[in-house]
C-alpha cells in the first residue's frame, strides 16, 4: 500500500515536470524517438505510452506544432514549440524557479 501511495505521488510530481522538460527540449525540433533519447540522456526517462499522448495534448493546446516529414526513408512526425508555446514556457520557467527556490528554503 505504501509503495502504491509513493508511486502515485511520484507520478503526480513527475507529471508537471515532464511537461516542462518536453516543452523545453522542443525549442529544437525533434521527433518522438529522438526526444525520448534527449530526455533520457538528461536522466528523465519517459516511456512512449506517456510521451506521445502528452505531445498530442500539447499540440491540441497549440503549444506545439508538428509536421510529418520523410527522414532516413521513413515518415516521422517532427514537433517543435509554437510561438504560444514559447511564451507559456517562459512563464512556466519563472514559476518553476520560484517554486524551486521556495521549496529549497522550506526543505
Amino acid at each position: 500500500m505504501d509503495q502504491e501511495l509513493f508511486e502515485n505521488l511520484r507520478l503526480e510530481l513527475r507529471r508537471g515536470c515532464l511537461i516542462l522538460a518536453v516543452m523545453a527540449a522542443l525549442r529544437t525540433e525533434q521527433y518522438g524517438y529522438t526526444l525520448r533519447k534527449v530526455l533520457a540522456e538528461q536522466g528523465l526517462t519517459i516511456d512512449e505510452g506517456t510521451l506521445y499522448p502528452l505531445l498530442r495534448r500539447l499540440e491540441s493546446q497549440k503549444l506545439l506544432v508538428s509536421q510529418w516529414r520523410e527522414e532516413e526513408k521513413r515518415n516521422k512526425r517532427f514537433y517543435r514549440l509554437s510561438a504560444d508555446g514559447k511564451q507559456i514556457l517562459k512563464q512556466l520557467l519563472v514559476e518553476w524557479q520560484n517554486l524551486n527556490s521556495s521549496l529549497n528554503d522550506i526543505l
Binding site: 518522438g32 524517438y33 516511456d47 512512449e48 505510452g49 506521445y52 499522448p53 515518415n75 512526425r77
Partner: protein
C-alpha cells in the same frame, strides 16, 4: 513484422476512428526506431523474441490506446474503450434492429396500426426507451464494479504479443465464406429444383399442398437468384477481394433477393391444404392462417433487409475510403 502489424491492429481497435491512422503511424515509427537501435547495437536483424520484448515493453494494446483517450469520470480510462465498445455493440446488435422492426411494422402492417391507434404507436416506444435505460444502467454498473474492485488489473495482467489476433484485411473475402456460400448455393438449387420442380401442387404422404399460380414466378426468381449467387461465390473464391463493382453487384443482388422475399410474404401464395384428417373448413382456416402469418413476417423481413442493405452500403463506402487512403 507480422507481430508488429497485429500489435498495431490491436491498439487501433480501441482508438477513435478520426485519430487512429495518425496515432498508429507515429507508434509504428517509434517501434521501428527501437528496432533499428537494437539491430545497430547487436549487429544482426532482430528476431521475433526481440520484437516481442519491445512490444511487451510498450504495453498491453488496450492500455496503450487508453492513454490517448480523454479521461472519463465514472468508468476509468483503462476500461472506457471496452465500455464504449460494449455499448456500441448493444446499440447496433439490438436497439437499431428493434427500432427498424417497429418502423416497418408501423408502415407496412395495418393490423399493428389498428391495434395501436393514434398515440398508442408512440407509446410503444416506451418499451425501447426502457430497454435503452436498462441496458445502459446494467452495463455501466457492471463496468463500474469492475473498476471499483480493480478487476481490470486481473483482466489485463496476462498478455502476449504472440497471442494477438492476425491482421484482418476488411476487403479480403475469406475463402471459407466463399466455399460455404458456394456449397449452400449448389445444394439449395439442386433441392429446390428436385423437390419443388416448378409445380404448384405437392403431395407429402397424404397431405396435398396447393399453391397459387404466381408461385411459379417465385420459384424461377429464387432459382435465378441462387444461380447468380453461385456465380458470385465462384468469382469470390478465385479473386477474394472486394472491389467497388463487386460490392455494388452484391448490393443489387441483395436488393433483388429482398424484393423477391417481400413479394413472397405478401402474395398469399398458399392456395389450399387438403388432408384426410382435416375438415375442408378447418383446412381453409389453416390456409388463411398460414398466409396471415407470412404477411405478419413481412415487416421483420423488411427490417432484416434494411440491415443487410446498410452493411452493403457500408462495404461500398469502405472500399472508397481504402482507395482514398491508398491514394
Amino acid at each position: 513484422m507480422k507481430m508488429l502489424d497485429r500489435y498495431l491492429q490491436a491498439v487501433g481497435f480501441w482508438l477513435p476512428k478520426a485519430q487512429k491512422q495518425d496515432i498508429l503511424a507515429e507508434l509504428s515509427e517509434e517501434i521501428h526506431s527501437q528496432i533499428d537501435e537494437k539491430e545497430a547495437t547487436s549487429g544482426h536483424p532482430l528476431d521475433e523474441a526481440g520484437l516481442e520484448a519491445i512490444l511487451k515493453h510498450c504495453g498491453n494494446p488496450l492500455l496503450v490506446a487508453e492513454r490517448y483517450l480523454r479521461p472519463q469520470p465514472f468508468i476509468g480510462p483503462v476500461l472506457f474503450p471496452v465500455y464504449r465498445f460494449v455499448l456500441k455493440m448493444v446499440g447496433l446488435g439490438y436497439l437499431v434492429p428493434w427500432l427498424l422492426v417497429w418502423i416497418c411494422l408501423l408502415i407496412f402492417d395495418p393490423a399493428y396500426r389498428a391495434a395501436n391507434p393514434g398515440l398508442g404507436q408512440i407509446a410503444n416506444l416506451s418499451t425501447l426507451w426502457s430497454i435503452i435505460v436498462n441496458s445502459f444502467f446494467f452495463i455501466t454498473l457492471g463496468f463500474a464494479l469492475v473498476e471499483r474492485y480493480r478487476l481490470k488489473s486481473w483482466l489485463l495482467k496476462d498478455w502476449s504479443p504472440r497471442k494477438l489476433p492476425a491482421v484482418r484485411d476488411p476487403n479480403r473475402i475469406p475463402r471459407s465464406n466463399s466455399i460455404g456460400e458456394l456449397s449452400f448455393g449448389i445444394l439449395f438449387s439442386l433441392l429446390w429444383v428436385n423437390l419443388l420442380g416448378g409445380r404448384t401442387e405437392y403431395v407429402f404422404s397424404s397431405t396435398r399442398i396447393i399453391l397459387a399460380s404466381d408461385w411459379i414466378y417465385f420459384f424461377w426468381a429464387l432459382l435465378i437468384l441462387s444461380i447468380v449467387n453461385i456465380g458470385f461465390s465462384i468469382i469470390n473464391l478465385f479473386r477474394p477481394y472486394w472491389t467497388r463493382a463487386r460490392a455494388t453487384f452484391r448490393m443489387l443482388a441483395d436488393v433483388l433477393g429482398a424484393g423477391i422475399f417481400a413479394w413472397f410474404f405478401k402474395a398469399r401464395l398458399l392456395a389450399g391444404i387438403e388432408t384426410p384428417s382435416l375438415a375442408v373448413t378447418k383446412a381453409q382456416e389453416l390456409t388463411a392462417q398460414i398466409n396471415h402469418i407470412l404477411e405478419r413476417i413481412f415487416p421483420f423481413a423488411l427490417a432484416a433487409a434494411a440491415i443487410v442493405f446498410a452493411v452493403d452500403v457500408y462495404r461500398i463506402a469502405r472500399i472508397g475510403d481504402t482507395r482514398r487512403s491508398a491514394g
